[in-house]
């Protein structure tokens, strides 16, 4: 074990874990976060995604020691107690079925829209293609992304829902 410093959602943590421990298990088991989840452990499905330096990263194949820069998880997307417009669009569109994959869907969509606030349908499909859903909520997820684009173009919706937790 060795001391590792990790900044997650605005808070700095000092952890006593092996440096090669996948970031996912540190986030879930040491920091008790529920957003990133284990789906494949192979970087194939996206359930574990987090944002590091503006990029959507597979935390299941990222050693904790190599996570340089602040980690933002699903829990960290909300600002000042208000959901992110992407999350808000997800609720308005009622996007999930079981919802287990939606961490990856939302994180990937957030990174896409940060880089490209007005993606075409083709760009949405391309950017989202590595993020899987076995309930097949894809059509609804794509609709939610388009709704988020509209919501953000009009500024944050006034009736943004308060964070439940």
């Amino acid at each position: 074990m060795s001391k590792i410093e990790l900044k997650v959602n605005g808070r700095l943590h000092t952890l006593d874990v092996e440096p090669d421990t996948p970031l996912l298990y540190v986030l879930r088991n040491d920091l008790d976060l529920r957003g990133p989840r284990f789906g494949c452990g192979l970087g194939q499905c996206g359930a574990c995604k987090v944002i590091i330096n503006g990029a959507a990263v597979f935390s299941c194949i990222t050693p904790v020691s190599s996570a340089k820069g602040e980690v933002t998880t699903l829990e960290g997307l909300s600002q000042n107690g208000r959901l992110d417009p992407v999350q808000q669009a997800w609720i308005e569109e009622q996007a999930p079925q079981c919802g287990f994959c939606q961490n990856g869907q939302i994180i990937t969509a957030k990174v896409l829209l940060n880089k490209n606030p007005h993606p075409t349908d083709a760009q949405i499909r391309e950017a989202m293609n590595g993020t899987l859903c076995r309930c097949m909520s894809y059509f609804r997820v794509q609709s939610a992304i388009k709704r988020a684009v509209k919501n953000m173009a009009g500024g944050a919706p006034k009736d943004a829902r308060e964070v439940v937790a």
């Binding site: 943590h13 952890l15 092996e18 421990t21 996948p22 298990y25 879930r28 088991n29 040491d30 920091l31 008790d32 976060l33 529920r34 989840r37 284990f38 789906g39 494949c40 452990g41 192979l42 194939q44 499905c45 359930a47 998880t73 699903l74 829990e75 997307l77 909300s78 959901l83 999350q87 609720i91 009622q94 996007a95 999930p96 079925q97 079981c98 919802g99 287990f100 994959c101 939606q102 961490n103 939302i106 349908d121 499909r125 293609n129 590595g130 993020t131 899987l132 076995r134 309930c135 097949m136 909520s137 894809y138 059509f139 609804r140 997820v141 794509q142 829902r161 964070v163 439940v164 937790a165």
Partner: protein
Amino acid sequence: MISSNRLPKQIEDILVMHRRGFLKSAGLLAVSFGVFGSGALERAEAQSSAAAGPHGPYRDPDYHQIDSWIVIHEDNTATFYVGTTDPGQGTGTCFRQLMSDELDIAFDKTTCIMGSTDITVDQVGSGGSSALERNSWPMRRVAAEARRVLLEMGSQRLGVPAAQLTVTDAVISVKDDPSRRVTYGELIAGKKFNVSLTGNNINRITGQAKTKSNPELKYAGQSLQRDDIPPKVDGSLKWAVDVKLPGMVHARNVKPPFACAKLTGIDESSVKGLPGFIKVVHKGNYVAVVCEREEQAIRAARQLKTTWTKPATSPFPSSEDLFSYMRAAAPVEMPPSAAESEPAPGSRPAVEGDAGLRNQGSARAASADSGIHVPPSRPPAARNPDMRAPVSGPVVVGDPDGAFSGAAKIIEAEYEIPFQGHTAFAGAHALADPSNGQMTVYTNDMKSYGMRRGIADFLGMPHDSVRVIWMMGPQGFGRSAAEDAAFEAAWIAREISRPVRMQWMREEETAWDTKGPAFLVKLRGALDGAGNLIAYDFHARSCDHNHVGYNEPDTVLIAQLMGSRRATPAAGSAAMPSDMYAIPNRKMVGEVVGLPMLWETPLRTGNLRDPNGPQPTFAAESFIDEAAAAAKADPLEFRLKMLKADAHDDSGFRRARSIAVLEAAAKAYGWESRPSPNPIRNERILTGRGIAYTFRGNTVVAEIAEVEIDRQTGHVWAKRLVCAHDCGFVVNPASLRHTIECGMLHGLSRAICEEVQFDTRNVTSRDWFSYQTLRHIDVPERIDIVLVNGDPNPERPDLPPYGAGEASLKPMLAAIGNAVYDATGIRIRRIPFRRERVLAALKTASV
């Protein structure tokens, strides 16, 4: 390290009350949560927090008591306790809508707790699309009875006859003097109803009150937002994977390196020095490692050295040789004793062709309804009420042999449907806590009640020493009702006397989960000189021997690996198509074949969403299209003609409803009449449209697919999909539409992507590259869904809801196949329509 075991104060307070036995009765968690409006979060917390709850025994809540179903709190809010689970279709919200309506309480003042065996009544859990069609009825009747009892109490309190009272939002008031009022909370909070219900099983449970008619329902019928979605979107939901207990450890399996392998040695020294290593546990051919931390267990499982011997012969043919094997194999003989036993209690009513016949009684009833003669069939296995029975004898209508001998034209075809996987988005997982000599299991098992009995029997514990707490998890679709991980976690937990979390890895889940069986379907059709389909011969053969049931202690994988052998493996089923075509002469046969080795293999079969429905429907509805093409008829008109040929209809208006969905789908699509294939086939991109229709249970669906096929790559893109869907009364239209939409895409995935591949000893498709699934890029440009849910019987005021969790998947495979034919002029009789298969077919046909 941050403590992960602390529960929110609100929940701890509940537990303190619970431990004191305060308000405790019949295993009832009768406490007020205080905060409402975030039902799912609260529900999950309440369920997960039961960890520190009472120490057993965990007696079944008595479903004859209103108190087991409904608790009303001081603040005039209500909690509903129901015995089902919601794997992600929003049924939990639908239950709240219906029960709020019957109780006359505001929807947002209610919450619903589901599927935890010690605090909710046993309604089996979820499955078979029965949530609204069957399970919601006892909930409604109990809520209606609670309202009646509260009105009586209000009458006494206010000194006014109940007939002169009215209820709005859980406030009873005098009709002529609304200032005289009393709330439900004032009448009952802190007390019990103590009212017994009648009915000899949970589905018949009732009080004296009548349920409301559809026009009286206020919340049911509205597209209320699902209560589970906000916590799923903001990260606050506590899933089954999130439960943590003091002292818990992590386990990972070490699977045999090939099917039917025998363990000959374990070299523990290969892992003993690893950090966090606790123990290797094993029995028979079952092996697992236990470590303090999750990543340590993963590493140890990979590093443990084990030796195994191969079986003398191959346990199965390779996926390439599967269909020739199935063609040559002898069908499974059914034991004569099985045909004589009675249907299992609780087996759900089945109709002809609904993924097999579930019991004799309903098969007979269905045959009377559909006009098709259905022979007695084997009833389901006693412990497995949803298990399909294979059809032993042929279903015969008219004189098929005679009709074939006089036909103007005979067409023949053979369809191949490979094994397809559940491949749940995350591997099987569970946490088992052996504290106090009891066993508490946290799981996403959709049938938590059966799991509780299964685990108790597997461990040899009394049933009331075990409780299963259902929490949300990755999808349902049948895999999470044959939940291996929970049995493994419970067994290891008892071995090492610590709470154990088990999680299957991706490769393990994709290779070793239960599979939807492969089908081989031979069809013959006879056309007369006018192009009418006058005879039809359907012969299905499924590779479904040893179809594992729901959480059975002797068929779950750990039991198999430990050497358990049931004397007679489940025979599985080969289902029949479910249509209302007036084909005057029919013969339909279903047979099951087995693989050379049935036990300890990754090709064990199980119930996969709409079990054994999509396979025969793909064959049957593709073949109807072949008949239409042979008659040079438009495929829609060909179907409608067969539906309109016979004026007779059954009590469920199945014929009229078939016509209605086909016409609605055609209208929504803008269907233009012409025979297939599409005469325009010159461009690089070939375009085609296909239609298919089927019943699933009482729900009827017609779907149209429009595809584009790239002739250079073979890639099939479903550009547009249309569904016309009739599932009776609609409780939540938005949730229904989303469920239909996702079901359609699941059908598309099975049509163009999914195929289990294996050599003669192992499943070789083991991750998301080798086992393909639908992706964002495959999604149609446009999806239209038409809810055709009018009641065809104007005399009946109360159209009931029918199941909708699976139906829209069922005809999609054939709709895609028919569209591929329309586009290319080539009938590809094997799914999935992957690009290499399509390209090869195009080349062979020089298209």
